[in-house]
Symmetry: C2
Subunit: 367 residues, 2 copies
């Protein structure tokens, strides 16, 4: 699967016009316009063999302008289409929050909450097969930061291409990945690393940087900042595909980290319509595993009732259906414990880079 | 007040040894060691006329090794002192979270929660008149990011000084401010701006960047990321003092934003022992003010009961004692509303840079 997309502004506007045109045509024929969308829940995601990722299945819900609520949604969709076209014309972008406030001027199309406007933006992605980035819409959250011998070109806001090496040209906080990492904004130029390690917490990222792990083990380090933004998953995907670099994921050991991994490797439920652009099926979960908690006798906390609930939900999640994951999840449930990646500091500040990571990476055949 | 500090590793270790020595001497004399610390609450902060910031007042609590709990605290303090000295010797640093886990090996000195270890690190700052950065301890949170024609030198982990311009040498996500911005790590080299604007949300920071506000109005832009980290407040202070640049603060309009401003301008309650290094008394609150909500008819949310409680607490907070703040707080209470800075998007994506900010900055005499 080639993840390059190369949507032009013109093709995006054309796709949006199609949506409006279809509604218009139906109304001209005297029928109520409709919009048909996949059901976006865990129960409706399926493994797509050709793409190697999880996508929405066949269950669909239909929006029909004969109900007031659905008619409002269609009206809002038309307003969004107009707003996106304006941004494309003016070379602008907008946060999802700004779009929510912009809807103040849309009369009956005004959103009741930001959740509504976010979901509708995702609906439009599904219908047009575009991505939010094509619509010039972006989230609030920060992107990842990266350190290692990786050279990229970034096109800055003036349209100039800048060359940035994520080891030599940045301070200790690293290269900040922008919200849009498509090829019109970011080009992957060169690297001198053997693999990319994606890390959940800033504390662990900084530990690996301070200990020089990236140089000693020829690694590119990427701080995920918790639940990874789309741009984070997308740049991991691109580095994996364009550079053929293995992606290793180093997270806390709890049910939420398992979910983070699933969104990186298999596709997130909310973005299953674009899993082929965001998910990296060959990514490997390095730790903290449930067996690590025992093997390394890590300081651990009791699972909360929410943790247990999340683990049980994962047992029936199709993305965790394979034997290794079922074992890990059941082991954590039995153990009744979770552990943070920084708990490795129990054995001193260098234990993670001198002992834990080399042992785990050797187990994966990566060093 | 000159905010430069220039503590050497040797002087930090000497200060820590003094603490240990004092305990040792008392024990040799057969008396129980004690540690006397200021009470760290809103009720015990006072305006310091000489420094122009809020500092702890005279109320003190005494830790006395005749109780088991206090004896444990003193034991922990000694372990921390040893740990810090080791880090200084080895050129290492540690997150506060790592230190908490490291205490697993300290027997009776093991911390029960990270809150305990964080507080004790702050206690040691107070006793030694050092800063946490001197101890090589750092938080988890990310530092600010900055865009504008500002040139700094940053000493990287190899000890080399790098020159970085926060407009020309960085991507759209800007220059990431590291956790330590003391002079041994960061040098302020040159700037071509008229003022610094500190901004609460990433969405608004990105809006100003996209609209070219920094270039048009000769501004340095800094993204606070909510409650600002120490390094963020410290670099604002340094730019204000070393470059004589006005600091303008642009936040949401709610009680929590007022608190953010107080921590920037007057000193935070938790760090009142080092207010003279972190607070910038001349910083100005630009908005969103309670009158902005009315004057610009902004989309606003009802105050929650927690908001009302926070506003009422601010009315009796000595930092908000002046007339302007009392008016703003009372106005917000009367109005019963709060508004986000991104709500300005009601009037379109350019309203904030074309209308709102120029009007407000003109009111302050800054443009």
């Amino acid at each position: 699967m080639n993840a390059s997309r190369g949507k032009t502004n013109e093709s995006v506007v054309a796709s949006l016009h199609e949506v409006a045109e279809e509604m218009h045509n139906k109304m001209m024929k005297g029928t109520a316009p409709t919009m048909s969308l996949p059901v976006r829940t865990k129960k409706n995601i399926e493994f797509n063999k050709r793409l190697g990722v999880f996508k929405y299945g066949k269950k669909r819900s239909i929006r029909d302008a004969t109900s007031l609520r659905s008619a409002n949604q269609l009206l809002r969709a038309l307003h969004i289409i107009e707003f996106i076209e304006e941004m494309i014309d003016n070379g602008k972008s907008s946060t999802l929050r700004e779009m929510y406030y912009i809807s103040e001027a849309w009369g009956h199309g005004k959103f009741g909450s930001q959740n509504e406007s976010n979901n509708l933006a995702e609906d439009l992605e599904i219908v047009t097969k575009c991505m939010r980035e094509d619509f010039k819409l972006r989230p609030e959250e920060d992107g990842a930061r990266m350190i290692g011998d990786i050279t990229i070109n970034e096109r800055n806001r003036k349209g100039d291409w800048m060359t940035i090496n994520a080891r030599d040209d940045v301070g200790d906080s690293g290269y900040g990945v922008p919200y849009n990492v498509e090829s019109e904004k970011i080009r992957l130029i060169a690297n001198d690393v053997d693999f990319i390690m994606a890390i959940e917490t800033g504390g662990m990222f900084d530990r690996l940087v301070e200990n020089g792990f990236d140089e000693e083990h020829r690694a590119g380090l990427l701080h995920l900042k918790g639940q990874p933004a789309r741009s984070t998953r997308r740049i991991l995907k691109r580095m994996n595909e364009e550079w053929n670099l293995p992606i290793v994921v180093f997270l806390d050991g709890d049910p939420w980290s398992f979910r983070i991994f699933a969104s990186i490797a298999y596709g997130a439920i909310k973005t299953a319509h674009i899993s082929e652009f965001l998910a990296t099926p060959s990514a490997t979960y390095l730790g903290i595993t449930a067996d690590d908690i025992m093997a390394y006798d890590l300081p651990a906390d009791d699972l909360s009732s929410k943790d247990v609930e999340a683990l049980k939900a994962e047992l029936s999640d199709p993305r965790f259906a394979d034997g290794w994951w079922q074992d890990q999840i059941n082991m954590m449930l039995e153990l009744g414990k979770k552990a943070e990646q920084q708990s490795l500091a129990k054995y001193g500040l260098d234990f993670v880079t001198d002992t834990y990571l080399p042992e785990k990476l050797a187990g994966l055949g990566l060093i």
